[in-house]
Amino acid sequence: MPHRPAPFRVTTHGGPSAPRLARAGAVPAAVVLGLVLAGCSGGSPAPASAPASSTLALAESAEYTTLNPLEQPLGITGKMYDGLVRVGADGVLEPGLASAMPTPDEDLTTWTVTLREDVTFSDGTAFDAQDVVAAYTAVRDPAYGSPLATDYEMVESVTAPDPTTVVFELSYPYAGLPARLTLGVPAAEALGASVADSALASEPVGTGPYEVAEWRRGDSLTLAARDDWWGGTAQVTTIHLVFVPDETARAQRVRSGEVDGAQLSPLTAASLDGADGIEVVTNPSADFRAISLPSTLPFFADARVRVALNLATDRDAMVEGILQGDGVAVSTPFTPAQGDAWSPDAAFEHDPDGAAALLDAAGWTAGPGGVRAKDGVPLAFDLMYFADDTLRRDVAQAFASDMAQVGVEVRLEGVDRPQAVAGMRDKAFVLGGGDMPYDPDPQVYRVLHSAFAPYDEDDAYSNPSMYADPQVDALLDTARREPDAAARAATYRELQARLIADPPMVTVFALEHTYVARGLDAWDGVVPVVEPHEHGVAWGPWWNVQEWTAR
């Protein structure tokens, strides 16, 4: 076997030094030599070994932009960092670095969190309250450049009275704070002045169960289990994350046994189901898709039209056709992932005739060429979707088909981000949601509250329908301040009934994230979980891989 060249690794942040260039160049030269010896040996790679091997190979759809938890929450960073609060089985929050769930005072403006003592960072330094304060100060400071700044706008101050307790002072009573404390806490020293020059982007320093062993740019990232993790050493000692942008290639490498799992679209996942040892795993999520109906357009000012469009939409056909059944039809931004805050009966049935009758009643009668019109204005609008998102394209095309059947003309437009922001003023848009599903407030507040109705170029995706309903505002604000969980859920259920009467947009379904995996039966501890909008191989069946135990 030709000599094994030095491990090839992109190290520190400094500028490219000549030796690395030479070393990087040396590897391909060694390869050319090796080629002569290796030749191309036939035979497919060794099939995944049945017994619980301690290494796991997963195919990720894209290379990570950054490993900084303040930029990339709830993703792969969940493996290297811990938050004060952790997402548990079925999406129920449980204490993480906090020794117990955070306790609010009676008017929900001061929250106290006590910290565990037996926690160390991956570089050996100790973890204490100062790191938490530094993290939550940096995330709130716009100058640091974290995209999560507005999620903590209700936090006034974060202080550490002693090394093991942290106190959050809020500017107004807020019941949903625990859901926002899942932020990964890096070592204070490694934070840097901003995300741009923080070393955390490629050199994570966290308290999590794994640390980065090797990152080959453009090819793969290898995680190694820490033997000194406060939650006990993970039995899966090594995780190889291979970057395979092309979905067909991902599926092929799972089928050929090269990798043990990948995140695939429902259709491709279905095609692999049952092939030698492969099973499809779906996890519920609050990741909904909806079509905004901007109230600036004449016909959307009338609630009856919006109800009619909701009735004309065949949600079940979309779930079956687009998601191959891996999803739940929903009519409001609330999804089953919100637990008892979700009211199952707040839903639109598919009733195209009812929709047509409602439109006629509203005065939008069928004009020439089959498109409805009212005093000269045709019921026709543009529907934008992100051109590179095949799922949103399918939703847009299905919605346009459904609308065409009731005489509503929908013109499709594949756009990129700036075109979407610019068009949001007077065009419909296929909206995504469910970024933070573990509390109903972050799930719906910015989508429904009239405070976000006026068009704001910097915040175009919040309340794109420019929907303003005082009753909805009131219910949202009371729910925020309600300490009792049951009462909070009841308020949200009453809110959903209101949304059915006066729907801000046409919400179609909530995704179930589909994964294909092999060899899960060799492990105990594989349980479902509610996933956020972001779905990569950090979630799926492997979300709690650090707690798996060999069967």
């Binding site: 491709t268 279905a270 079956e320 590179d388 346009a400 088909s401 065409a404 499709l412 594949g414």
Partner: protein, 292 residues
């Protein structure tokens, strides 16, 4: 770079051939050329008539049926969203051909302007013009295409702009060489002694000769431009996915490859190769005749 601008092209000069299907193509037998021309006519008719004859709403999706193999009802089969590939193929081919034709025409026009300017004005403009031509030739066209598409994302205009901006150099060289030859070839000196005026020489000899060569250049640019469109769309930088084009169909086809729907890739791939072969077959043979 050339010391003597009037020297006719010697092997040392690197003409930038457009795509490999130019001079390298073995001489097209007359029969081969007839078959190619017929194939081209069929394809163009298919691309123009089918979308008109079969008015199907492009956005109408029918996930219930999903991908079905080629059958009598759907000769090309249906794609993942249950849409008939025969019709989408026609739309795709039409969009790609329009983009390619517009791009190629733009390239030829720009090439003529630069070529004529360099030849007629001569001197510094000629030298700098040739510097620019060599510069654009040195950069891989796809890279230029990706950079332009990255900035001006996803519209038909972008594709036309990309093709025109990268493929005018070959025509510029052609026009310049032809106009420069006016002074040197025995053929033109004979015309002087035979009493033809400059205008008559241009009208009877230079213009028809140049027109024939430009027609060939245009013909050969179109398949090359179709490539560019399909490549950029394949990379996700070209036309938006809901607008059917050969590139989008190929991209979709590749995704469906694993789930066994090979025909979703075969249909657009077949069309792309067919249109390329037919166009090259018709015109490639002609390039040699003009070197006479």
């Amino acid at each position: 770079m050339r010391s003597d601008p009037y020297a006719p092209a010697r092997p040392a000069i690197r003409p930038r051939p457009v795509g490999v299907i130019t001079a390298a193509r073995p001489r097209a037998l007359p029969a081969g050329r007839v078959v190619a021309a017929a194939g081209l006519v069929v394809l163009v008719l298919y691309a123009l008539l089918v979308p008109v004859l079969v008015p199907v709403d492009l956005d109408r999706v029918d996930y219930a049926t999903g991908p079905t193999p080629p059958s009598l009802a759907h000769p090309f089969g249906t794609d993942l969203a249950g849409r008939d590939l025969l019709v989408r193929g026609a739309h795709g081919l039409r969009v790609s051909l329009v983009a390619a034709l517009a791009g190629a025409t733009g390239a030829v026009v720009l090439g003529c302007l630069v070529g004529a300017a360099c030849a007629l004005v001569g001197g510094r403009l000629d030298r700098w013009g040739m510097r620019v031509v060599d510069g654009v030739n040195a950069v891989p066209h796809l890279l230029l295409g990706i950079v332009v598409a990255a900035a001006l994302r996803g519209s038909l205009l972008t594709i036309v702009l990309v093709v025109a901006a990268t493929h005018w150099t070959q025509t510029a060289r052609l026009v310049r060489a032809e106009l420069l030859a006016l002074g040197t070839r025995d053929f033109y000196r004979a015309a002087v002694s035979l009493g033809l005026t400059r205008r008559q020489v241009l009208r009877h000899h230079a213009a028809p000769r140049l027109a024939a060569q430009l027609a060939v250049a245009l013909g050969l640019l179109v398949p090359h431009a179709v490539w560019h469109e399909s490549t950029l769309t394949f990379l996700g930088l070209g036309l938006p996915p809901h607008q059917p084009s050969l590139g989008a169909l190929l991209d979709l086809g590749q995704q469906a490859l694993l789930s066994g729907a090979w025909w979703t890739l075969a249909a657009p791939a077949g069309l792309l190769v067919a249109v390329t072969l037919c166009l090259a077959g018709c015109l490639a043979g002609r390039t040699e005749d003009h070197h006479g």
